[in-house]
């Protein structure tokens, strides 16, 4: 934990930065060069395997997305250029799914951030039964998503479910679009808030106690200490937590698959891709959607890293700005 050693907040980190850069330009000696070559050689097998298992499928799906490739019509496979992209991007179902995905992502991540922060503070401050508190908070995250989703589904099914009877007055909420999306979002929040809390708690550990005490001495209220001291210091941890959760939420599949299977226009982009790829056997259109999701995820990551300055956990806080 290099963070714990450096005492200062975000401003100090920026001031230190220039000192680190000059050494990169120095010429390498013979020994150093040989060492580097050996290093590359040792890395090579791992890189080759990564290229085979991660790189090749990506390239292959891009290639598939440029073809009419439908397992139902094997003799009509042909290269169609960007036709599949035009088809998907001009299709109402795709944009509906995109909209549903964005709504679920934004709403669930926002609520998770607030709840996660509260949980993190509780876990951080607890003095008695710390183990019990932390463990019980993490239970939802420990349950297999599909299993949890099934219990949500039964809970919301009229006749068998306690939630449907008590909260929805016996209405089949999962068969209507807006209520179903709300239920899916709720299940998602319940499931992943602990994960958010865990990441934020790691951030809380960065906040030096002395700083908080000093602020208190200067007359800052609890809220001011939270907003003006804790949040700025925690910013890298918050951004990482947000990035992870946004990427995760954007690819939502298992909860939706069990709860609505995408009926009544509740498909997310992943659900839609699955339906076209696995159910529809349309490798062309399905791969096009996969590639589009890949691009969307890349954009989200880019925005977080470049615009908000999120740094990978472990690297220096606020390193890139």
């Amino acid at each position: 934990m290099s963070h714990a050693v450096s005492p200062a907040g975000a401003d100090a980190a920026v001031a230190e930065e220039p000192k680190l850069s000059p050494k990169a330009k120095a010429a390498l000696s013979e020994g150093k060069k040989a060492e580097r070559r050996l290093g590359l050689l040792l890395c090579a097998p791992a890189i080759l395997i990564m290229a085979a298992v991660a790189g090749w499928p990506i390239i292959y799906s891009v290639w598939l997305s440029l073809q009419r490739y439908d397992l139902k019509f094997p003799d009509r496979t042909e290269f169609v250029g960007l036709d599949n992209y035009i088809t998907v991007l001009s299709n109402g179902y795709w944009w509906n799914a995109m909209w549903v995905t964005v709504v679920i992502t934004v709403v669930s991540v926002a609520i998770e951030l607030v709840l996660g922060m509260v949980l993190a503070l509780i876990m951080h401050r607890t003095l008695v039964g710390r183990g019990i508190v932390r463990t019980s908070t993490l239970i939802p995250y420990g349950i297999v998503t599909v299993v949890a989703a099934f219990s949500w589904r039964y809970a919301w099914t009229p006749g068998t479910g306690y939630l449907a009877e008590t909260l929805a007055g016996g209405d089949p909420v999962l068969t209507e679009k807006v209520p179903a999306i709300m239920v899916v979002t709720l299940a998602e929040i319940w499931k992943t808030t602990p994960f958010m809390a865990l990441l934020l708690m790691a951030g809380l550990a960065l906040v030096p106690d002395d700083l908080l005490k000093a602020a208190a001495m200067d007359g800052a209220t609890a809220w001011q200490r939270f907003i003006k001291v804790m949040v700025p210091v925690m910013k890298p941890a918050i951004l990482v937590a947000l990035l992870f959760r946004t990427l995760d939420a954007f690819r939502i599949f298992d909860n939706l698959f069990v709860l609505t299977a995408g009926s009544q226009g509740t498909s997310s982009v992943s659900m839609l891709t699955y339906n076209n790829l696995i159910k529809g056997l349309n490798l062309g259109i399905g791969s096009t959607m996969s590639v589009l999701i890949f691009i969307a995820v890349a954009i989200i990551a880019f925005v977080f890293v470049k615009l908000f300055g999120t740094a990978a956990p472990g690297s220096d806080g606020g390193g890139r700005r």
């Binding site: 019509f73 795709w94 089949p172 009926s263 839609l272 076209n276 259109i285």
Partner: protein
Amino acid sequence: MRGTGHRLAAAGGAALIATSVLAGCGSGDGGITINVYKYPQESFQKIVDNCNATADGYQIVYHKLPREADGQREQMVRRLAAEDTDMDVLALDVTWTAELAKAGWIKEFTGQAKSEVEDGTLETPLDTARYEGKLYGAPDNTNVQLLWYRGDLVPTPPKTWDEMIEMGSQLKAQGKPGLVEATGKQYEGLVVLYNTLVNSAGGQILDENGTKAVVDDGAVKALEVLKKFATSDVVDPSFSNFAEDQARLAMEGGNAAFMLNWPYVYAAAQKVPDFAKNLKWAPYPSIDAGDEAEVTVGGINYAVSAFTQHSEESFDAVMCLRNAENQKFAAINDGVPPTIESVYDDPEMAEPYPMRDAILETLKSASARPRTPAYQNVSTVISTILSPPASIDPQATADRLRTELQDALDSKGVLP
């Protein structure tokens, strides 16, 4: 009651897992194993045992597929796409023939096997196993919906949809149960209902070759009938959420006078004797007076995987699994209508199958669902666009169907 049911179901589930694990162990003993993949059918293991007793040089092993049709298709299709050699015989829904045949995943029935299947099998189910003039399956069971009605409320069953809606309204006006139950949920059941209406109106959804979306005047007429029904006062308020079983339970619950459903409801009703004694059946209502309804045919055909390593034994196993004796056994024990005509005349069928003449009669004028390799897409498009049926706007809905169905046929469509 409910608690016991659940516990039984759990025990059943555990037993299922145990048997499938044991079956998995047993298949490695050197002899030829014919792996049959079929939906969970209660007495099917008995049929397999019967066949194994007489099988020459091979043993059949029954692998249960998921309960829902989508799950069954997905599992088989995924393994077939990967050219899995461990699947030999597949129980296919009648609507999957074209897709699997076109993809080259199932074998054609030729020569001896073909003539054996065609001999004595009813024409309508047999036709569902054909694609582009070739035979790709052996019909195991078939199915058609009938009109079920309350004999104590309705002296003579209605002949047309208009009559049925009229009768229901009158019953309601008298303060009696008058609802009409049908499958309006966004799934295959809605497609079955719509397909029956289109064919009864003399219309077409796709052309003969299944390459062009027609959606002609008959199809528009069918939309009008569906819309009229869905917005009438005899439709169940939950119509747009009802699959077969919910419709059946609603009728058993006592609010409805009519129901359009498969024959299994007769066997199921026997658990409610007060209701069963008044449950009567009649041919499906038509659209125009004097016309016959052309009811959508359902059912299961056996196909042989193109990747099997034991082709001869697989065809042999299919012949045994679907022979007259075993079809009768399944009809009596599982309530699935046979596809071999002579089975209907068997005296043992009279008691569990009092409606067999109505089924035979309906089968003769029955209609198939659109025949195209893209059926899954076609079906999804239809059920999505028709949901909920009350918001159908006949001409506009027909136009939308035509465009989106054509896209689906050209692999350009996006599945919702």
